[in-house]
């Protein structure tokens, strides 16, 4: 039985906002699934429908085969959630929040062990509303881990965490997944998805635009790999353009640049050129994840800003830096 399955899941807000459009995804048990997309793509709306915070306009969602709306409480018994837009606004300490989560789940976890696992044991007796964003994120993550859930739903989990925190969270996620927990993970940070996930779904403007492994995505993307060869003397062009998978060859001075539709063609280019000229330096560039992301999402929210291709990378970096 899949851990998560949606059938034609659709959510409209008012008459003109289509937040999620006819979404079909299936996430199998034990998978780490990355749910990728720019801001406002509909990731959180989808998660909120899985958790019954909001109700679908059409279609349905099942978690462990149970209907997300009708059997919400039974589902919540088996999942751990790090929600988006939460707040610790009760006058309770981190430890009390953790104890409350454990008690509500009917679990027998040791609060101290979980607090230590997420690295806030030293601050556990302070009021949680006074925590920094990163510490709150750690606490929320720890609460999600209580009762060793069968499914972890993490909405932008690395938000506000420092690099160590992100590293640590990833390793905890991998540990849990290795023990059979399914992980559903939303993010707009590409490297994060690449580092953790088995499979990725890319969402844009409410639609699922791609679903595959990272390698599969790379292959299916029409992205170009580029190879630059610096030679001791001006290299001859003959035959390089005829290599399978090479789409364009440029020579300027001693530098040869070949654009390849198939990244594997690069090796052949080097071999061919090396027969006739001394290659002194090689610079290869695969389709970056950022370019992939841009291809699938059309630049996201910033697509209307006319940017040369090279600037796209910067634009995605800026997104990563978002808190």
């Amino acid at each position: 039985m899949p851990s998560i399955q949606t059938n034609g899941l659709t959510k409209r807000f008012g008459d003109d906002v289509l937040a999620v459009d006819d979404l079909d995804i299936t996430i199998e048990e034990g998978e780490i699934f990355g749910f990728l997309g720019p801001n406002g793509a509909g990731k959180s709306t989808t998660i909120n429908m899985l958790l019954d915070f909001i109700r679908p306009s059409e279609g349905s969602a099942q978690v462990f085969g149970m209907d997300a709306q009708r059997e919400a409480a039974a589902i919540r018994d088996r999942i751990g959630v790090l929600p988006e837009g939460y707040g610790f606004d009760d006058y309770l300490t981190g430890r009390e929040y953790m104890e409350w989560a454990i008690e509500t789940k009917g679990a027998d976890d040791d609060p101290q062990a979980l607090l230590e696992l997420v690295g806030i044991a030293d601050d556990a007796d302070r009021v949680a509303s006074g925590y920094s964003k990163g510490m709150q994120q750690r606490l929320a993550f720890g609460m999600a881990l209580a009762d060793d859930p069968d499914l972890l739903i993490l909405d932008e989990p690395s938000t506000g965490l420092d690099p160590n925190g992100i590293q640590h969270m990833r390793s905890v996620i991998r540990d849990r997944a290795a023990n059979g927990t399914t992980v559903f993970f939303s993010s707009h940070i590409l490297s994060e998805v690449e580092a953790v996930c088995d499979r990725v779904g890319v969402m844009n403007e409410g639609r699922l635009v791609a679903m595959d492994s990272i390698e599969g995505l790379r292959e299916s993307a029409s992205g170009q790999a580029t190879i630059e060869l610096d030679c001791a003397s001006p290299p001859p062009v003959d035959g390089v353009g005829d290599i399978d998978g090479v789409s364009r060859v440029d020579v300027s001075g001693t530098k040869l640049t070949a654009e390849c539709t198939d990244p594997r063609a690069k090796v052949e280019v080097v071999k061919r050129v090396d027969r006739h000229a001394d290659v002194v330096d090689i610079l290869a560039d695969n389709t970056s994840l950022e370019e992939l992301f841009n291809q699938f999402t059309g630049g996201g929210r910033d697509s209307d800003v006319a940017t040369p291709a090279g600037d796209n990378v910067q634009h995605v970096d800026a997104q990563e830096a978002e808190p």
């Binding site: 409480a73 919540r76 959630v81 929600p83 837009g85 939460y86 707040g87 606004d89 309770l92 509500t104």
Partner: protein, 293 residues
Amino acid sequence: MSTVTVAKKDFKSARRSKLLWAAAIALGLIAAFVGYVSGNAPGTDTQQVQLLFRVLTMILGILLPIVALVASYLAIAGEREGGGIKFLLSLPNTRRSVFIGKLLSRNGIVAGGVAFMYVAAISVALARHGAFPAGVIFGTLLVTLVYGGTFVSVALAMSSAAASRSRAIAGAFGTYFLLVILYVFPVVQIPTMVQWVHTTILGAEKNPDLYNAVQYTSPYLAYRKAINLVLPTEMRQMIFRSSLPEDVTRGSAEANEVLPLYLQDEFSLVVLAFWLVVPLLLGYLLFERADLE
């Protein structure tokens, strides 16, 4: 089970609010002050204490709705705006257990405030008069808790309907105005307005029973009438004078019995039950259907 956990956490957090403690202490001081200034009328010690509690309920009639509204108007709206609802509903709680848990804890908070007042009033009464008329004390306490409960229900319904703090505040203000203020001040009063519409616009004959019946829909008047049920006959408040014959004397059993059934003291229980239950059902349905973002 999860209802209790929700209520426990909510109550625990409220117990640490300095503002709530300050409010409870202020309520206690008000009650002690009332106990101190009243009780100079002729009569036995027991009567003095009974009168003291009657005065106390008159103050509570105006004050308790404020306490209950303030204590409850953010019960749901605050969790929605602050994001606490995300945790509540990520854990194995249903919306029903969240709603009922909030209801229990907010009623508990209001009951705590009332308890402060009663403890203060009882202490003063015992010190000054040495009397403890249990019937009147526990009777008024019970009716008062129900009255507070009606405003908790209304506030919780408002809180469910409002998606934000500001709307919940507006709802609480509006409620107090509509259900209390319009029945207290003599100039702008519901019966006066209804009479004006009835006689001036509709051109009908004056009908005091009708105006009183309209007025009786307010939990505020229902509370004062319900208090009559637990007071000795001679201390009862005469509320719908315009529906009574001229010769009825104040504080007689007749003053209640000659009224039509729907204006009698006993009918107040129906009104209170309505305000206790109907807003809760509406609020629950709204909350159950809402998109919580």
